[in-house]
């Protein structure tokens, strides 16, 4: 299927009048996938999702059906499904639009996924900032209870499910799945050491699946149209790489930064960053050129202009030194912007959001920010560049020094900025100039 023939799937109902209501959702065929699923065996639903090749949309790209099979068999007692709606990766807003505009699509996916995993309670963890989403979801959940789509004996199937909304309190780390679980349990959101993975011991020490909002929105469509339909979109498995799981299905791409038309675009997975910017975001603003582009949220690092033909599938960004596709949130930085200022902003973000549990992350993110502050004040030394790289190479799960991946996300902007724009950093330091945009400090 070529991008020109593509009709939006996940955004298909966005912009329609009253798209949030149960009545319009049902008129558009909503909850037919649920009725169909409830007549299947739960293992059949898992197999269908597994065969579709759906990979998690939250950032790591782990195959969704496979994740579900990690739950222990013949488990006594409750299983939980947690929905990760803590979307906080800079540049990312696809879940916000999905929930605000079409909450029932997400909720139908949650009920089907809960049925497949035999969960009887689903906790929807939603970042506090999404108040409009919260109210849209609560209204939709109330409609579902009133129409036998939640609660006891859903649609006469004998299956029971409750969905509870749980609001966060403005912390990026709650998007890490075990940080989310700790936060849900009422504790500080310190990620857990794994194993045990959540499938074995998650929320309230019970088997738990944590899935992203966009992943849930894909589920009803897979049930309705089948695995082959899902695989007709996107980029097939690399035959030379037996570990590649392919990049199938529709994907929401967020575009922000220096483009004429920032926004959310749905396309089959695999469009290049260049086409996305030129054909779907009105090009770079003010007639300028892109200097650097983030392929999938801040923690993925930077691509140069010369790398913009890279396909934005699960493998593409990694081939040019980025951490991965991440959340497919593309941030465009024009050629009038200083990479020193950009990297400072990135480091400051991770220093602010490090939970403080692991020393390499807590100290590494703080010191990299201080080094960049010094450079921006015109007091940098050339040796600072290598010092930044030394920090970046020492923090994270990839060097094996931290519990979670936040520090890898902090390291990748540093590594890619310096590897790809080293000359700019050297020139900046040698010039001794001060940044034009010195940032404000907070009161706490």
């Amino acid at each position: 299927m070529s991008p020109t023939e593509f009709k939006p799937v996940l955004l298909g109902r966005v912009g329609k009048p009253d798209s949030q209501s149960l009545a319009t959702y049902r008129a558009d065929g909503g909850y037919e996938a649920l009725a169909k699923s409830l007549k299947m065996a739960n293992t059949e639903v898992i197999d269908l999702v597994k065969n579709s090749g759906l990979r998690g949309r939250g950032g790591a790209g782990f195959p969704t059906g496979l994740k579900w099979t990690f739950l222990p068999k013949d488990v006594q007692g409750p299983i939980y499904l947690c929905i990760n709606g803590d979307e906080s990766e800079p540049g990312t807003f696809n879940n916000r639009v999905l929930i605000e505009e079409d909450p029932h699509q997400v909720l139908e996916g949650i009920v089907i996924s809960s049925f497949a995993t035999r969960a009887t309670t689903a906790y929807f963890y939603l970042r506090y900032e999404y108040g409009r989403c919260y109210r849209a979801l609560q209204k939709a959940v109330d409609e579902m209870y009133a129409n036998n789509l939640l609660g006891k004996n859903i649609l006469g199937s004998g299956y029971d499910l409750d969905i509870y909304l749980h609001r966060g309190a403005c912390a990026y780390i709650c998007g890490e799945e075990t940080g989310l679980i700790e936060s849900l349990e009422g504790k500080r959101a310190w990620p857990r050491i794994k194993p045990p993975f959540p499938a074995i011991e998650g929320a309230f020490r019970r088997p738990t699946v944590v899935n992203n909002v966009e992943t849930m929105a894909c589920i009803p469509h897979i049930i309705n149209h089948g695995a082959e339909w899902f695989q007709s979109m996107g980029v097939p498995k690399d035959p030379n790489n037996p570990r590649d799981a392919g990049s199938y299905g529709p994907k929401l791409y967020c575009i922000s930064g220096h483009v004429n038309k920032p926004g959310l675009v749905e396309l089959p997975m695999g469009i290049s960053a260049r086409d996305l910017i030129d054909q779907h975001a009105g090009g770079v603003w003010k007639g300028r050129k892109a200097k650097a582009v983030i392929p999938g949220g801040l923690s993925m690092g930077f691509m140069t202009n010369a790398e913009l033909d890279t396909p934005l599938d699960f493998n593409g960004p990694g081939r040019v030194g980025c951490l991965g596709l991440g959340t497919a949130a593309v941030v465009v930085i024009d050629d009038h912007t200083s990479m020193v200022d950009v990297l400072y902003n990135a480091c400051r973000f991770f220093a602010h959001e490090s939970c403080g549990q692991c020393t390499p992350c807590r100290e590494g993110t703080a010191w990299s920010t201080k080094i960049l502050e010094r450079i921006r004040e015109g007091k940098g030394k050339l040796s600072d560049i290598d010092l930044l790289m030394e920090i970046a190479n020492s923090i994270g799960t990839i060097p094996g020094t931290t519990i979670c991946g936040l520090a890898d996300g902090a390291a990748w902007p540093i590594k890619t900025a310096i590897n790809k724009f080293r000359g700019e950093f050297e020139e900046y330091i040698k010039s001794g100039r001060r940044s034009e945009s010195l940032a404000l400090a907070g009161a706490h």
Binding site: G131, C170, G186
Partner: protein, 164 residues
């Protein structure tokens, strides 16, 4: 005299059956108290702890982890406005917006105006990068904001108050 209102106690009681542990009601409890009082006092934390069968230190531990909750000596103003400074907003003037706003109200991020009406906060990514620079008023996002827009939002009477 109880620090928790009847409404707060009711919200806490309604949340208890939703979770297999009482501790999971910590965040919902902290939210309802801060919405009503604009801060969470030590006394309120003690009372929440009693209802959730925890020690007050456990409530304080969680509350202090999130920069979101305010202590008694540092209450929120009547309105709380967060200005996003993360990269997509920074690229489109978020830092300048925050600086202009702080200059206008003679406070630094995190502080409240002397008349107690407005608290300005710096925010990391608010998830509205399609509308950069964006701000958050309580829990409602406002996209593509100029200084004039934020001033208007700050001065509007009857700002939407949050419900639990």
């Amino acid at each position: 005299m109880s620090e928790l209102s009847e409404n707060a106690k009711q919200v806490i009681a309604e949340h208890l059956p939703r979770y297999p542990s009482k501790q999971a009601v910590t965040l919902p409890a902290l939210h309802v108290v801060q919405q009503e009082r604009r801060y969470v006092s030590n006394k309120a934390m003690e009372e929440i702890a009693e209802l959730l069968e925890l020690s007050p230190a456990q409530i304080s531990d969680t509350a202090s982890f999130y920069g979101f909750f305010r202590t008694e000596d540092n209450p929120l103003g009547q309105k709380r406005i967060w200005v996003c400074r993360s990269l997509p907003c920074m690229l489109r003037g978020g830092e300048e917006l925050l600086a202009a706003l702080c200059e206008k109200y003679h406070i630094v991020p995190g502080q409240t105006t002397a008349d107690g009406k407005l608290t300005i906060e710096l925010a990391e990514c608010l998830g509205a990068c399609d509308g950069a620079p964006c701000i958050l008023l309580e829990d409602e996002l406002h996209l593509r904001c100029s200084l004039e827009d934020v001033e208007r939002i700050a001065n509007e009477p009857n700002a939407p108050t949050k419900k639990a």
